[in-house]
């Protein structure tokens, strides 16, 4: 765009690129349609086809979508606004329980799935605001500790409020979605798949728009330097609260979808490992880059759900004494840990970084030599 001013001399590729830049929303939607139609075909090709049948693959993609959604939401909080949230699964839990209360024989309420998507997102966002209001005055490690606590408290509440939630047994028999009389079933994963792709595409368009908006710039300023942001006329409290609420609403959306598919919800599904996995997805994918984070989530989910299992079978077949006895699925968190440490050492900007993050993390020493340390001192 900047290099060539006359569109007629552009190569088709350059024209495509500049078109994509000018119509980002349409490009994202088309991108999702393309990916969503290629993936089911791709898994028919060996060796992928030998791992599991196509219907299981498609079912797995919907589950991966839940994590992509979670990762995109957490990316707003951690990647864009720079607030470390270690209890993100709490909002996932809230969205899940909201759907269980709103559309199940347990409460005898039957609000359809589609409005519940919105309800789940709004309730999660509201609780995000309630948690954020008192805690967002904290910074860095302290905020991380408080959110970690919140992430533990929410499942504990669902566990102990057993008259409302059936405690540890969880709520089962939750209704599945229905569209114009067409009922979603467990046998046919395609409707869930299409629904998930649609949710992801729309969410991603909205997030990209937000990132480029005034609010997106305010997030960037707050992430860089809160005091300077305030001196530039940015309401830092509202800015951080909105990041928190938006992240929470995305998790709420993911919770409603996941519960409608699983038709069950229990307090054991929302442990710290969920928050940790999603954070690992964001970091490995490349904080701040929406596509990168989505790809990171997809890759990690696929490794966790498919590759580790296949690895077990692969080594079983080889009859190597030690490797044979290792259950790789059991070691997934160890593997995440190793991957995160390796990532921080070798490629801190993530696999698919935003261009800005890459600059930030690969600053040479003389780039930052002149920055005076921030002083909060009293020498006024």
């Amino acid at each position: 765009m900047t290099a060539v001013s006359n569109p007629r001399v552009q190569s088709p590729w350059a024209r495509l690129r500049s078109g994509a830049r000018n119509h980002r929303s349409i490009t994202i939607l088309l991108g999702w349609v393309l990916v969503a139609s290629v993936l089911p075909v791709l898994v028919l090709i060996p060796p992928l086809s030998t791992f599991q049948p196509q219907s299981l693959w498609i079912d797995g993609f919907s589950n991966a979508g839940v994590f992509i959604l979670l990762a995109m939401g957490l990316n707003v909080v951690v990647g864009l606004a720079g607030l470390l949230d270690l209890g993100y699964a709490a909002f996932f839990a809230i969205g899940s329980y909201v759907y269980a209360f709103g559309d199940s024989p347990f409460t005898n309420v039957q609000i359809p799935f589609w409005p519940m998507l919105l309800v789940g997102a709004i309730i999660a966002a509201t609780l995000g605001l309630l948690l954020g209001a008192p805690t967002l005055r904290l910074r860095g490690d302290y905020l991380a500790i408080v959110t970690l606590g919140f992430g533990e408290i929410v499942p504990a509440v669902f566990l102990n409020a057993s008259s409302l939630t059936k405690g540890t047994n969880g709520i089962g028999g939750i209704y599945k979605p229905e569209l114009f009389g067409f009922k979603f079933t467990l046998e046919n994963p395609v409707p869930y798949y299409i629904t998930m792709v649609a949710i992801l595409a729309v969410t991603m368009v909205l997030l990209y728009r937000l990132q480029g908006s005034r609010l997106g710039r305010a997030w960037m300023a707050v992430r860089e330097d809160e005091l300077a942001a305030a001196s530039s006329g940015i309401n830092t409290i509202t800015t951080k609260l909105l990041a928190f609420a938006l992240g929470a609403s995305t998790a709420g959306l993911a919770g409603v979808f996941a519960t409608s598919k699983l038709t069950f919800v229990g307090p054991g599904q929302f442990g710290f490992q969920v928050s940790f996995t999603v954070l690992a997805m964001v970091v490995l994918g490349g904080m701040g880059n929406i596509w990168g984070v989505a790809t990171g989530a997809f890759v990690i989910y696929t490794i966790q759900a498919v590759v580790l299992k296949e690895l077990n079978q692969f080594f079983q077949a080889l009859h190597v004494p030690i490797l044979q006895s290792i259950d790789f699925v059991q070691y997934q968190y160890l593997l995440y840990g190793i991957a995160l440490v390796a990532m921080m050492l070798l490629r801190p900007e993530g696999l698919f970084p935003s261009s800005r993050r890459r600059q930030e993390l690969h600053a040479t020493s003389d780039d930052v030599a002149d920055v005076p340390p921030p002083t909060e001192a009293l020498d006024a």
Binding site: R214, R217, A218, M220, A221, E224, D225, L227, A228, A229, A230, S231, S232, G233, I234, N235, T236, R356, Q359, E360, A363, D366, D367, V368, D370, V371, P372, P373, P374, T375, L378, D379, A380
Partner: protein, 260 residues
């Protein structure tokens, strides 16, 4: 001190600047018996001062006297526990910082606090956050006129600039919000003597373009040369105030701050 070689230039500056405020005497900014605390620490112990429209006023004093705290209390980054801050007659003691930027108080904070990972242009645009983004080209041009160096390096990241350039950027960023009063905290800190000269000349230019300035400086001599009036702070109180020319002649000021 760096003051010694700058005196010849400084003398010229004196002649170009009348001792009294140009034009009217209406009060833009007023502090009335302001007490500000950091937790238990009583940092400002009843500061009263005023800044009139069109003036350059300077706060001088030793480390810990309360200069930065005074600026932070004005710009809303801190709030006084007692006393009033008034801007254009309105009580702003409890108004948050981001609203005061809209109201017309610009603050170039201590330590520059530029967004070191954003480019110069992005930093300046961030400074204009409160203004419509399609209406800032004129302001950008104005900043680049004051600081041509910034224009040369427009795409460079803030953190890669030299100390002097970062200071220019910090002042430029504060100007982007079109403040009516500009609070400058130690603009000469850590700069070479030549750059200190340049910064003080630019401060005068900004002032003659119509922006009132409240200047905190350790470089007391330079500050008293460009300012119309000054306040000497000591342990959170105003020890002395008056026209800059009088303060320059004052025995105590000469001993304590001018190194004579």
């Amino acid at each position: 001190m760096t003051a010694a070689p700058t005196i010849p230039n400084a003398e010229e500056a004196v002649h170009s600047r009348p001792a009294a405020a140009p034009g009217s005497h209406d009060v833009l900014l007023q502090l009335d018996n302001v007490h500000t605390y950091y937790g238990q620490i009583h940092a400002l112990q009843g500061i009263s001062l005023e800044v009139r429209r069109g003036e350059i006023v300077t706060l001088i004093g030793a480390n810990g006297a309360g200069k930065t705290t005074t600026l932070k209390t004005i710009s809303g980054l801190l709030h006084p526990r007692q006393g009033k801050v008034r801007f254009e007659g309105r009580d702003i003691s409890r108004t948050p910082a981001h609203e005061l930027v809209r109201a017309g108080i610009g603050h170039s904070p201590e330590g520059r606090r530029i967004f070191s990972r954003l480019t110069i242009l992005e930093n300046l645009k961030m400074g204009a956050f409160t203004r419509p983004q399609n209406d800032i080209q004129g302001d950008l041009d104005h900043v680049f006129e004051l600081f041509p160096r910034l224009k040369e390096r427009i795409g460079q990241r803030g953190g890669s600039l030299s100390g002097g350039e970062q200071q220019m950027l910090a002042i430029g960023r504060a100007l982007m919000a079109r403040p009516r009063v500009l609070l400058l905290d130690e603009p000469s800190l850590g700069l070479s003597p030549i750059l200190v000269q340049q910064i003080f000349v630019i401060i005068q230019e900004i002032n003659s373009a119509g922006t009132t300035i409240l200047l905190v400086e350790q470089n007391a001599l330079q500050a008293l040369i460009v300012a119309n009036r000054g306040y000497v702070l000591q342990t959170g109180q105003v020890a002395l105030s008056g026209a800059s020319a009088d303060l320059r002649e004052n025995e105590m000021v000469r001993k304590a701050y001018l190194g004579e």
